[in-house]
Amino acid sequence: MKAKHQRLTLALLAVAAVSGAALLALSALKDQAAFFYAPGDVRKDGLPIGRAVRLGGMVEAGSIAKLPDGISIRFIVTDGVAKVPVAFKGIVPDLFREKSGVVAEGSFNPDGSFTATNLLAKHDEKYMPPEIAGKMHETKSLEQ
């Protein structure tokens, strides 16, 4: 193979590989666009039942209930628009508390409740995940 041809082949290969990657990534991202939910979205988007998603919002005041088994809790996540009951089995993060931000990883159940496999809480007093701040703003303005 001549040098010129080889260079062309390699360049074409590189372009094909990179655009293949972009296509793969973008098609996977289509699903991801519906990866993050706020309680208010549930009404307008319908529930992705059983699929791994994140649910973000505030833990409603007075909603945390510990179950008798000592390791499960229930609480309500709200964004001021809608409320979603969440069940979680495990050790809650250190900064998980009422009226503070939380991101729950898990999936929706057919009855509209959420089963979390993991909870991410804010790291300090000032921190609120931007995703939540944005979502609350968005769903609130949708209501008005």
Partner: protein, 668 residues
């Protein structure tokens, strides 16, 4: 006074960087004007000394002897500034704003020192210090590069440094005073109060900055049209060095997240993690393509391009982590003005380098050709796949930011990366096994297949064994485990029938680094396939089982640390007939800033780790306990260490060979 001295040192360093840039610009200009024939292709046939002509050697020599000390002193001054910042932190001088907001007089000494870079301003100072010292090292150590290229390289290095000095002096002064001074500081984020985190940023930064040196080399070589095997051999040790530190940094970071965050996971696809993974992917590709350039004079333009890409990735990493644009478990939010500053630097450097690349790529002539079935062919495939993974990670990391700009909030998590990058990474690993078994330039496909018999058999046997016995294992862990077996066999195959004592050190390096990938892969697959967990509300004295262990909570007791207090659980663990041992997970309270952290307790055994986390107490006096048995999870980080060790052996081998060659040339 100390803080003012530090600031002055920074100003002087910045001035010297400007001088270094000016001298280099003059030198390169004169040299290029007086030697217009120095186009790349001809240059490689002539030794560096002869090619610029007698007169120009005098000019460039003079300039070099001026630029070299400037580069060294600039690095030392930046180092002095960092040293003074550390002094201010150790003395807990609360009249310095940075100390007051990030340190506390009660903190243990090591975290006072580490506190100097456990924040935005300090870490940027660390960045520029390493950059300056690396520039000084290039000025002193680099003798292989053509002189004009060396000057241009030092000029590029000064230009990068100048941007960061400006950033520090105009928007992130680490020495700013605070008046009135508070009695005590705010304290360091307790998550960062950990030995892992004290050493993690310097390690990663050395990696990032090492890549910036490779970038400067590429810019220098583009300016003087000197892209060729000699340039590749000069650049390779820097790429290798940077890559070793990046590997170590990522491995250590992963282990830190694993034990400190208490989630029992070793990789979260967190944007901050991706920020260090992306430069590593690019540097890995660069490392392999620079070898093709050094050995076979192929992939010239591609190698230069990769150097630009790798540096862009380390800048994007810095930008992502330091701009506060991200949601991250690391949550380093800082003000967006600084993000904009880094973004402008990013655009200038990368845009400039890409323009230079576009203008000069025509003069970078193609080197030798090769057949698809050859070592080069495998390395090209490696480069393409690495670039594809890099592209996927980059898109996945930046997409939420772009989407946010368009008013859509979303987050991209592990499901995306696992689905897209996972399969390609497995393919890459398979090619990695085959590559070293191929000859340079041209090989016979049948012969290669013949050499692959043992590894392929190892893969097949493992696959069959786990498919038969593993019952219900996921497809990815199954493929991972069998590929790990095959690639492990293929990695050591190059040593087959060789006199081991005569095998060059860099061959050992390659073998060990590739083996490290196989070991790591085995650990990842084993962790996801075989982990067992128990989550209980434990009463005192009640035994619980996880994997082969019986764990009993003996008692809970308060403990006091230097700047925290904690509730500590004492767990007695038994495994069959063996003697029992004790684990002590804690729940720690820090007063300043007020925070609670879980300190997991981990027992490391030959066949895996027992990981325990203590939760809260409930009304009935039961304590939440999370117990994980993770078979062979340690292989993940052992593999990382092996990869870095392989890199270090390669580096040593290359340096020794260069020395020997240089000595022989001197004799002749």
């Amino acid at each position: 006074m100390i803080a003012e001295a530090g600031l002055a040192a920074l100003w002087f360093a910045a001035a010297l960087a400007a001088l270094q840039l000016a001298l280099a610009a003059v030198g390169v200009r004169r040299s290029l004007l007086s030697a217009p024939l120095s186009a790349g292709a001809d240059a490689k046939k002539l030794p560096a000394q002869r090619f610029t002509g007698v007169e120009d050697v005098a000019v460039t020599d003079q300039l070099l002897s001026a630029v070299r000390p400037v580069a060294v002193v600039q690095g030392l001054l930046a180092g002095l500034a960092l040293l003074l910042l550390m002094v201010v932190f150790v003395r807990s001088d609360m009249s310095v704003l940075l100390v007051a907001s990030n340190s506390h007089s009660d903190k243990p000494l090591i975290y006072k020192i580490a506190g100097a870079w456990g924040n935005h301003e300090g870490s940027m100072l660390l960045w520029v210090t390493i950059l300056g010292l690396a520039g000084g090292a290039v000025a002193v150590l680099e003798h292989r590069l053509q002189r004009t290229t060396l000057i241009a390289t030092l000029g590029a290095q000064a230009m990068i440094a100048l941007g960061f000095y400006a950033f520090l002096l105009f928007s992130s002064n680490p020495f700013a005073r605070l008046n009135p001074a508070p009695a005590d500081g705010n304290g360091l984020n307790p998550l960062l109060q950990d030995p892992g985190l004290a050493f993690h940023p310097p390690t990663l930064y050395i990696g990032y900055v090492g890549i910036s040196v490779a970038f400067s080399f590429a810019v220098g070589a583009l300016v003087t049209r000197d892209v060729g095997p000699a340039f590749a051999r000069a650049m390779r040790p820097w790429v290798l060095g940077a890559w070793i530190f990046l590997t170590l940094g990522i491995t250590a970071g992963s282990y830190w997240a694993y034990y400190e965050l208490g989630w029992g996971g070793w990789w979260f696809w967190d944007p901050v993690e991706n920020a260090s993974l992306m430069p590593w992917l690019a540097a890995t590709a660069l490392l392999h393509s620079v070898t093709v350039l050094a050995t076979r004079d192929g992939l010239r333009a591609w190698t230069v391009m990769l150097a630009v890409v790798a540096f862009s990735m380390s800048m994007i990493g810095t930008f992502l982590v330091r701009s506060g644009i991200l949601t991250s478990v690391h949550a380093f939010a800082v003000d967006p003005k600084r993000g904009a500053f880094i973004l402008v630097l990013l655009a200038l450097y990368i845009g400039g380098a890409l323009l230079l690349f576009a203008a000069r790529v025509g003069t970078v002539r193609q080197g030798s050709t090769f057949e698809p079935v050859s070592r080069e062919g495998a390395l090209v495939a490696n480069n393409l796949l690495l670039s594809v993974i890099l592209g996927i990670v980059l898109i996945g990391t930046l997409y939420p930011i772009v989407a946010a700009g368009m008013g859509v909030q979303l987050s991209v998590g592990p499901p995306f990366f696992d689905k897209t990058a996972g399969p390609i990474a497995l393919l890459l690993v398979a090619i990695m096994g085959a590559g070293p078994l191929m000859r340079w330039r041209r090989d016979n496909a049948n012969a290669v297949l013949g050499r692959m018999t043992v590894p392929v058999a190892a893969t097949g046997v493992t696959l069959a064994a786990f498919a038969a016995l593993g019952g219900g294992m996921g497809i990815l862990p199954l493929l991972g485990l069998s590929l790990a077996a095959g690639v492990g066999a293929a990695s050591i195959a190059p040593l087959w029938k060789r006199d081991l004592r005569r095998t060059p050190l860099f061959t050992w390096g390659m073998v060990i680094a590739h083996l490290g990938i196989a070991v790591s892969l085995a650990g990842m697959a084993s962790d996801s396939a075989f982990t067992q967990q128990t989550l209980v509300a434990a009463r005192i004295g009640e035994p619980h089982r996880v994997g082969p262990f019986t764990v009993t909570l003996e008692h809970i007791r308060p403990v006091i640390g230097p700047n925290w207090s904690a509730l500590e659980g004492t767990l007695t663990v038994r495994r069959g007939e063996a003697a029992s041992f004790t684990l002590r997970p804690q729940s720690r309270f820090f007063a300043s800033p007020p925070t609670v952290t879980s300190e997991s307790a981990i027992a490391t055994k030959l066949d895996g780790q027992l990981y325990t986390v203590l939760g809260q107490e409930d009304e009935q006096g039961r304590w939440q306990l999370r117990l994980w048995w993770k078979p062979f999870v340690t292989l993940i980080w052992l593999g990382g260490a092996l990869i870095a060790l392989g890199g270090a052996l390669s580096l040593l081998g290359r340096v020794r060979r260069e020395r020997r060659v240089a000595a022989r040339e001197e004799e002749a």
